[in-house]
C-alpha cells in the first residue's frame, strides 16, 4: 500500500510547550552541561527580544528551539557578527 500522506503538515512538525517541557525534563538537563538558572534566564531574555526569534521558540539563524539550547553551556548565540548572549551584549 502506497503511503501518500502529506509529509509536512502533520502535528509532529508543530512545536508546543509540552514538547519543550518534556525535553527539558530529561536527565541531560540536570547535569553540569547546563548553565546556571540565572544565566539561562539572561540568555532567554536576549532571545525573546531578538528579531530572529520566530513563534517564541525558534531561532531562525540556527533553527534551534531557544528554550532548549539556551540551557547548554557549549551552545553559542549564532547571530551574525554579534553574540547576543555575551556579557557585554546583556549589559
Amino acid at each position: 500500500m502506497v503511503d501518500n500522506r502529506c509529509k509536512g503538515c502533520r502535528d509532529d512538525y508543530v512545536v508546543d510547550s509540552k514538547q519543550i517541557e518534556r525535553v527539558l525534563a530529561s536527565p541531560m538537563f540536570r547535569s553540569d552541561r547546563c548553565v546556571s538558572d540565572s544565566e539561562y534566564l539572561t540568555r532567554l531574555d536576549a532571545c525573546m527580544s531578538c528579531p530572529k526569534l520566530q513563534g517564541g521558540t525558534t531561532c531562525l539563524v540556527c533553527g534551534c528551539i531557544v528554550q532548549i539550547t539556551a540551557k547548554l553551556k557549549e551552545k553559542r548565540c549564532p547571530y551574525p557578527g554579534e553574540d547576543r548572549w555575551s556579557i557585554e551584549a546583556v549589559s
Binding site: 512538525y13 512545536v15 531562525l60 533553527g63 534551534c64 549564532p78
Partner: protein, 497 residues
Amino acid sequence: MSHVITINADVSHGTINRNIYGHFSEHLGRCIYEGIWVGEDSNIPNTEGIRNDVLEALKKLKIPVLRWPGGCFADEYHWKDGIGPRENRKRMINTHWGGVVENNHFGTHEFMRLCELLECEPYISGNVGSGTVQEMSEWVEYMTFDGVSPMAEWRKENGREKPWKLKYFGVGNENWGCGGNMRPEYYADLYRQYQTYVRNYGENKVYKIACGPNVDDYRWMETVMREAHPFMDAISLHYYTIPGEFWTGKGPATGFTEQEWFTTLKKALHMDELITRHSAIMDQYDPNKRIGLIVDEWGTWYDVEPGTNPGFLYQQNTIRDALVAGLTLNIFHEHNDRVVMANIAQIVNVLQSVILTEGEKMLLTPTYHVFNMYKVHQDAERLDAHISGSEYEMDGEKIPQVSVSASKDAEGKIHVSLCNVSHDSQADVSVALRGLGGPIFKIKAEQLAADSLDAHNTFEAPDALTPSTFSAYEVEEGVLHAKLAPMSVTVFEITAG
C-alpha cells in the same frame, strides 16, 4: 575481498545528462532564508542579498540546474506575492514547514538572479494544488514574454527589461499528497488543462514536467502516463532514503549503529528498482524514450538534530550520506537513457544538504565533496562497465560491496567512480581497461574515506572530512589494482592514448 571490474572504453551507452547533478531549494527551514538569502543589509558578505560564501562554494560544483520554490511549498506559493518592492511584499505563514513567517523577500527576481550567478538553469515548480490556471499562465508570461503584454510590462516596472530564459517548468508537485491529495485520474486531467496554458513565447520553449509518483506508486505512473503522456516532456519521481520508518522514527543522522548503516545503504540501492520498474511502465506509452524521468527529490531523511525545530528538517551529514550520494549517482548514470535530471534535497540546511550554515559560519558536507568529485561525469559518455565480486553482508542480508560507474569526457579522459559501502572491510579491486586506444600514461585519484561510521564536519572542525589524494593503486599490464578503504568514495582519472 576481491572485485573484478571490466570497463570497455570503446563501448558507449550515451551521455550522462549534466542535469543529473541538479539541486533543489525550497522555502523550508533555513534553506532559502539564512542559507542562501540574507538580504542586502546583512552583516554576512553578500551579492544583492545572496550570501557570498555559499555562492562561491556552489559555483565550484558547476550546478547545472536548480529547482524552486518547492516542494510542498510550491503548491501554496503565489508568485505575485514575491515581486515588486520588498517592503511591500505580502507576509504569510509557511504552514507546511515550521509555521514561520514568509516575508516573500526571495521571489522570482531573486531566484533568477541566483541562477544567473550560479550559471545554472532554473527549474520552477508551478502551483496546481491551490493556484489557478490563469496564475500559472501569467507567471510564465511574466518571466518569458518579450513583447507588449500586461505581465511583461509589470516585469519591466520591477526592473527586469529583458525576459529570462526558462526551460524547465513543473506543473505541480506531489499532487498525490501535499499538492492537493489528488487521485491520479484527477491530476492527469488537471495536468492536461494547466499545461495547455504554459505557453512558449518567442524563442523560449518550455520543457513541461508532470508530477509523477511517490516511491513505488506504480498506479500513479501508469494512470498519468496513460492519460497525459502526449502533453509532457518529462515526469518526476520522489524517493527518500530513510533508515527507519517515516512516521515512527527515521533514525538519527549521527550516532547510529552498524545495522542502521547497512539498512541505509540497502535502501539507497532501492532507487535502481524504482527507476527500472517505473521506466518499464513509461516504455509502454513512450517506447522511444522521448519522455524523461526526473528524480527531482531524492536523498537521506533522518530525525532532525536534537533541539531544532522539527519543521526545519535540519540534519547532519556524514560519510554515510557521502556513500548514499555516490551510490545513487552511479545508479542514475546506469539509467541515463531515461533519467534526464535529478535534484538532491536540499541544497542548504535541509535534509541531505551539500552546505550547512549557522550565522556567518558555513561548512561543506561529505555530500558536497562527492558532488565535487563526481562533477567530471557531467555530459560525459557513459562507458560499458561490469563488476563481479564479494557482497557486503549483515544479519543474513546482502548487498554488493562495491559500486562502479565509468565515463569518458570531451577531452577523452576516463573517470571511474567507486563506492566501497562496507563499514569494516577494504575492497581489493582489479579494473581491466579495454578499448582505450593506447596505453595508460597518466592516472590520478581522489578518495573520501572515514574511520568512523558517522564521521562528519562541524562548524568547529569544518575540514574534518575532506577528500585526499589516493595512491593505494598500481597498474600491471593494463590492469589497475587498487585497495579501496572501508566506507570510501574514490574517483580515478585515467588518460590514455
